[in-house]
Symmetry: C2
Subunit: 437 residues, 2 copies
């Protein structure tokens, strides 16, 4: 693991700051960072520190939180496009069987590079072989909330018992600054009651939470209904699984009663609109109803094989377009809400509302510095910048990215490792995974 | 107008070429250009010319054709988000009344810069004051197909009679290499039969075509039905307007009979999915049915005020997601078709199938060189690159852009004028247009 930058204090001087505070203020300000945290947000030109970063031509934004992906799939981008879900999964499972620790780490590093370069500072993952993903996280300096996939023994390609593997993973990665291990039940189609409850207990014992697929397709809903007489959320409630700040990914096919259950149990949803649309899932996550009921909702890109971008900038755009269209209501999910989903609401979803998602004293210094003079941020008027983030900003407008006050992207270059080296390893991984198909 | 580069020959050596030829071949090849046109596409390392451009780490793609926008609105990005169409238009009309030749040219230059930097080499516009847009086109070197807006006298803010203004515009910009003047009836809600037929005759007399709004909203369809007893396409057919390779923008609310009429009259559709979704138009253009009927379909971004991006890369992504979702069919609009809409089909839509849209001998050398080593194009496998263009490539991956063999973007910098100067003028235009609101 690369050495952390020695703690020192920094002032980001005079940038236009999208604070995402309770009042959602956008203001010219100094932002002071020390020991990895924001210590002060004050009038431009007033704060002092050892190091000063000139931010006059920068827009400061809280780092984005990508609440659902399978980052190791980055080298599989384009391998299974334009197929129905069954055909898509057939390819994915066949290719997965060829994955090695080396291809997983190289793929994760590729995906993390893409995320950092588009302003994402935290992500939730669901996969097996998460040790290799965790190594890539620590190499590149992003925050990874990494869920080890658990499923019934008869469905897995994992060596050993998935739940035992997950417990061991939790133990190995406890207390690391950038890695938070999670337990990740794959979904109702491959997890029995025992697996769900075992996952919950393992997470609880380790002081963490579960991240799982939930009601993504009609098929999984209908098959579960045929098998146990209940829809997924109702059944998970019946067996006593739900609770503890869990994060369900997708939540496309939900009834109003299920939405109420999620709210009561404080289980949130990672909304993945691009992936749902691309795989023709058919339904649309009831984001407005979920939020009205008080369910935390974040945004997720899902994997590079089903999106195919890992950019939260694109995901905000698509999320907004989709709800407006679906509801015949152009006021649905306005720009400010879209930015909320990508920042403060994502933080709330993963139980880190006090720590991540906004630029306020006490929070982690996870910051993205956008180029205010970039073509996709013009006109750079304070009253328009939130709209630009949600609807037009291109990844290239991300100049620098900080995680816990440490620069991980500077002038569009990864700080810790050169992209060219990551790229070469990722292409080798792709060669191994793609051919011969 | 800046001097054209002296004609000379160039070979783009050894790039991965997305030819968009009839067989849709993707191959390592040399591309030779002379006098602004492609003279040869041959085996890598075999072609000779005065100048050689090393393209080994480049993906060569035909320049994108954005078939509907209002480019001068670039400084209005973010001014009227998240409002219903009536509220949106109210703001747009109020702001439009403040536009001057100077703000139009500065806004057009801003929008053209964004388009060039995202790989667009041709665009169709609909606006008044197109002389200022044409000047921006000639300054920056893109191809502009510029439609002068015509509408009934009682609805216009134009000085003089719109149709006379359009005729004069056609005369002033005839025979220019980068500007093709069009006539642009605004829509059935502001154009009488006389205006439509006058527009058609003016275009016909000048050897050009009409570009117009068509069936974008339910409201315009229902109001026309109430007024004349017919839906827009049926009525335009009844009055004898349709024909001559016209381009209707949107085409959201069409019946099967109207689709058949468009096919019979060889009238095409500029599909603008992001704008339709963002304004909550409700319907979805029947792209699959239009194509099955033989109607040419291209992609358009619409304006920066209703998208809010001018990137055709984003538009391909959104277009694909939307049709897959709408039809519950992940195979709808596959990646290759999306790229076709943005290139060869766009060329066919505007009657330039012999001249634009593919990398083949005899075609204009409108070329985009993408960085094959960019994170959003990984893995850079020949069988995946069309998918990456449609679903993941970020604008930053566009390294260089050529129009008629002339470099207009090189290493992400505009060649003819620096972005910083365009930006300053665009921000001044925004200051004039936005405040006080």
């Amino acid at each position: 693991m690369p050495a952390e930058r020695p703690p020192r204090s920094t002032v980001f001087r005079g940038g236009l700051v999208v604070t995402q505070d309770a009042a959602r203020r956008v203001r010219r300000a100094d932002v002071r960072v020390e020991g990895g945290r924001i210590t002060d947000v004050g009038e431009a030109g007033t704060l002092r520190a050892e190091e000063t970063v000139d931010a006059q031509r920068r827009l400061l934004v809280p780092g984005f939180i990508n609440t659902h992906t399978h980052v190791a799939n980055a080298p599989l981008r384009g391998i299974a496009d334009d197929r129905d879900l069954a055909g898509f999964l057939e390819t994915m499972f066949a290719v997965d069987a060829r994955a090695t620790d080396e291809t997983i780490e190289a793929g994760a590093a590729q995906g993390i590079a893409e995320m950092l370069l588009s302003g994402t500072t935290s992500f939730l993952d669901l996969y097996y072989g998460e040790d290799a993903v965790a190594r890539a996280v620590e190499r590149l300096g992003i925050r990874g909330f990494l869920g080890w996939a658990v499923l019934d023994a008869q469905f897995t390609t994992q060596r050993g018992v998935p739940l035992d593997n997950a417990r061991a993973f939790l133990g190995r990665w406890k207390g690391r600054p950038r890695v938070t291990p999670l337990v990740a039940p794959q979904g109702v189609y491959v997890c029995s009651e025992d697996t769900w409850l075992g996952a919950r207990d393992a997470a609880r014992a380790a002081g963490t939470f579960c991240h799982f697929h939930l009601s993504e397709t009609r098929k999984e809903v209908h098959e579960l209904e045929a098998k146990v007489g209940d829809r997924p959320v109702n059944w998970l409630e019946r067996i006593g699984f739900l609770g503890d700040g869990m994060v369900g990914a997708h939540g496309v096919w939900l009834t109003r009663r299920e939405v109420e259950t999620l709210a009561r149990r404080r289980v949130g949803i990672a909304h993945c609109p691009s992936s749902n649309l691309k795989l023709a899932t058919g339904g649309i996550a009831p984001v407005v109803e979920l939020r009205e009921a008080g369910v935390p909702v974040g945004l997720g890109t899902d994997s590079s094989a089903s999106n195919n971008s890992l950019s939260m900038l694109r995901e905000m755009h698509v999320a907004g377009l989709l709800q407006k269209h679906h509801r015949w209501d152009a006021t649905a999910l306005p720009a400010q809400t879209l930015l909320d989903l990508a920042t403060v609401e994502g933080a709330r979803l993963i139980g880190r509302a006090d720590d991540l998602g906004s630029i306020e004293p006490g929070k982690q210094a996870d910051l993205v510095l956008f180029r205010l003079d970039h073509p996709t941020l013009a006109p750079a008027r304070p009253e328009a910048v939130v709209s630009h983030l949600a609807y037009s900003a291109s990844e290239e407008a991300v100049d620098s990215v900080y995680v816990a006050g440490e620069p991980v992207v500077r002038a569009r270059e990864l700080v810790r490792e050169p992209w060219e080296r990551l790229r070469a390893a990722a292409e080798r991984a792709a060669d191994h995974l793609w051919a011969p198909r």
